[in-house]
């Protein structure tokens, strides 16, 4: 395929045009192809451009604070986020970071077993109409907008949690974790199912012919063979959960504190930006600190996605070899 493409490039604008074509077409055909080639290439590079643009513009707004005026030690180690304090504003993100990590951790503790279990069921234990229906349901689950999830957690789940546990407020770590779990499950299921599907059928047939049951095939053959893909599924779920904003904002109660239990309200990195950016003075330290938090988020999700990509590429290369 590579060779044929190279030949194509050589023939572009060459004698390939039909001799009977009017002279205008003879000119326009290659010209159009050249212009189109340039435009298509530019659009192709746009993804790189936008990733750098995001980094650049967020960094540009954050820079005055990031490279001066910011106490880096306090930023990382202090749990006090008091941006609007009259006496001395404090910008410590420890509590926010712990909030994000705890709610993501809780969500993953729920979503990973369920998601991988569903992926195994859809991929290995059902066929035909049932399989298609389940895949569509999971897809629809992914389509529900994050603000609707937030609405559900706020209006339905929160009163339920208060009733069941007697917690003072229903919007807390548990609520956020549950909603976030449901939101990150679809990506875990779909990527996990792809990973299982990528295991060659000959592996399954070999195991079955040795007398293994379906469960043994899953446990002893598919899990080891697809472990990188399943890991990537989990990582993508983590990335999704860390970056989620509106649902978490509405579900976790927005209280800056390090949680001591499941029923404590918390505050996350994403929710802080969403809740406070509208109230800040443009160009002020608080405004710039929110962009610094944005930079932290960008960095975290960038590396989570990068690792997931490397893990996935790892399998592909392994299979080729």
């Amino acid at each position: 395929m590579e060779d044929s493409r190279r030949e194509r490039d050589g023939a572009e604008g060459g004698a390939g045009q039909a001799d009977s074509a009017p002279w205008l077409c003879r000119f326009l055909g290659p010209a159009e192809s050249m212009v189109a080639g340039v435009v298509v290439r530019l659009c192709g590079y746009s993804a790189i451009l936008f990733v750098f643009a995001i980094l650049f513009f967020v960094l540009r707004e954050a820079a005055p604070m990031l490279f001066g005026g910011m106490d880096l030690v306090e930023f990382i180690s202090s749990p006090d986020w008091r941006p609007s304090s009259e006496v001395r504003p404090q910008y410590g993100i420890l509590a926010l970071l712990v909030g994000t990590l705890s709610v993501t951790g809780l969500a993953m503790a729920l979503a990973v077993p369920l998601g991988l279990g569903a992926a195994v069921y859809i991929s290995e234990f059902c066929t035909g109409k049932v399989k298609e229906t389940l895949k569509i349901v999971i897809e629809l689950l992914a389509a529900i907008p994050s603000v609707v999830w937030g609405f559900i957690s706020y209006m339905v789940l929160a009163p339920l949690i208060v009733d069941l546990t007697g917690a003072p407020v229903g919007v807390n770590l548990l609520n956020g974790g549950a909603v976030l779990a449901l939101m990150s499950v679809p990506i875990i299921v779909s990527v996990g199912e792809d990973a299982l599907k990528a295991v060659p059928d000959s592996y399954r047939e070999a195991a079955l012919s040795l007398g293994a049951s379906r469960w043994e095939v899953v446990y002893r053959v598919l899990f080891p063979a697809a472990k990188n893909g399943l890991l990537a599924a989990v990582l993508l779920g983590v990335g999704r959960a860390i970056g989620e904003t509106m649902a978490v904002l509405m579900a976790t109660g927005h209280a800056v504190q390090i949680p001591r239990g499941l029923l404590d309200p918390i505050c996350t990195l994403t929710a802080t930006i969403a809740a406070e950016l509208g109230e800040t003075v443009y160009g002020g330290p608080h405004y710039r600190m929110l962009f610094v938090i944005g930079l932290v988020l960008f960095t975290i999700t960038f590396f989570v996605n990068l690792i997931a990509d490397i893990v996935v590429k790892g399998i592909r290369n392994g299979q080729r070899a």
């Binding site: 993804a47 790189i48 998601g115 960038f302």
Partner: protein
């Protein structure tokens, strides 16, 4: 299995009877299957439950008037017309910006790009663009479109932010659609002397147009539901718009701030007091209904496509 001791008499009775080990295996398999089924159902149940609860609670509010009326009395009464139109324009604007770039980027990745390190970096960029949190996209929108491009908080800035955010959806689905066109189609066209672009325009794109459309529809549903990216770039709590006449269909210019359905729901729940539960649930149902209908359209189109495939 053969190592399991069996009495000769039992073996003679039925040679093919399951040994205790095999029976244990069958039991284990049944348990595993049931557990996996239960896990799947735990995921399916919330979708059904949520839809049921939303519909039941929203039922008293849902009517044609609810959709067609503007919000009134500090949004505690009236309908959702203004936010609905705002969402429509936001989606349309982001679609116009994202679709051409996204489709051509997909064309580049599938038709032009060679399998080298640079292409791998582009792919990585696409994956990362999809993984950037929506609130960081909002910050980018504020920094780039609202401030640097001097658009101010406007419909246009919000559309651009949404477009960048939903670009990966279109790129990946276009790529998949193009990849499903057999190589022999292209080779046949090249042999007739067509250039690469002519082949793409006359053979590859027409044969994959419905697949591309599926991705575009998905982009619409993503853009319609997003809240965070438009929060600071163009959407506002309330804009008074005309109640009647053609102006009620075009209430926002590209430089105006607008209302949006997702933002409206957020506002009703967290910022305004005295809104009846029905209105809140009604807004949520319209939003989720819109998104699910658009998504089902995409799923239906994909199913139809598979059944129509001639190669």
């Amino acid at each position: 299995m053969a190592s399991e001791p069996e009495t000769p008499a039992a073996a003679a009775a039925n040679q093919f009877a399951a040994t205790p080990l095999e029976q244990w295996k069958i039991v284990k398999e049944t348990i595993a299957k049931t557990v996996f089924l239960a896990m799947t159902l735990v995921l399916v149940a919330p979708l059904v439950g949520i839809l049921a609860i939303l519909l039941v609670k929203a039922w008293p509010a849902l009517s044609l008037a609810f959709v067609l009326e503007n919000p009134k009395h500090y949004m505690t009464q009236g309908g959702i017309w203004a936010p609905l139109v705002g969402t429509f324009f936001l989606v349309l604007g982001s679609l116009l910006a994202a679709a051409p770039v996204g489709v051509l980027a997909g064309v580049y990745l599938n038709e032009y790009a060679r399998d080298n390190w640079f292409t791998r970096i582009i792919n990585l960029a696409v994956v990362n663009l999809a993984g950037v949190p929506s609130i960081v996209h909002a910050l980018f929108g504020v920094g780039a479109f609202v401030l640097a491009a001097n658009m101010g908080r406007s419909l246009m800035a919000a559309c651009c932010t949404l477009a960048v955010m939903t670009l990966p959806v279109i790129i990946t689905s276009t790529r998949e659609a193009l990849a499903s066109v057999p190589m022999s189609f292209r080779e046949a066209c090249w042999n007739l002397g067509a250039t690469r672009w002519q082949t793409i325009r006359t053979i590859v794109l027409p044969n994959s147009i419905s697949g591309i459309l599926t991705g575009v529809i998905l982009q619409v549903s993503r853009a319609a539901g997003e809240t965070a990216p438009i929060l600071f770039t163009g959407a506002v709590f309330f804009v008074p718009v005309a109640d009647h006449g053609w102006e009620s269909f075009f209430p926002y210019g590209p430089g105006d701030r607008c209302m949006a359905l997702s933002m409206h729901l957020f506002t009703l729940v967290t910022q305004v007091s005295g809104v009846s539960d029905e209105t809140q649930y009604g807004t949520a149902v319209v939003l989720i209904g819109l998104v699910l209908v658009v998504n089902s359209l995409s799923i239906g189109l994909r199913g139809y496509l598979r059944s129509q495939k001639r190669w």
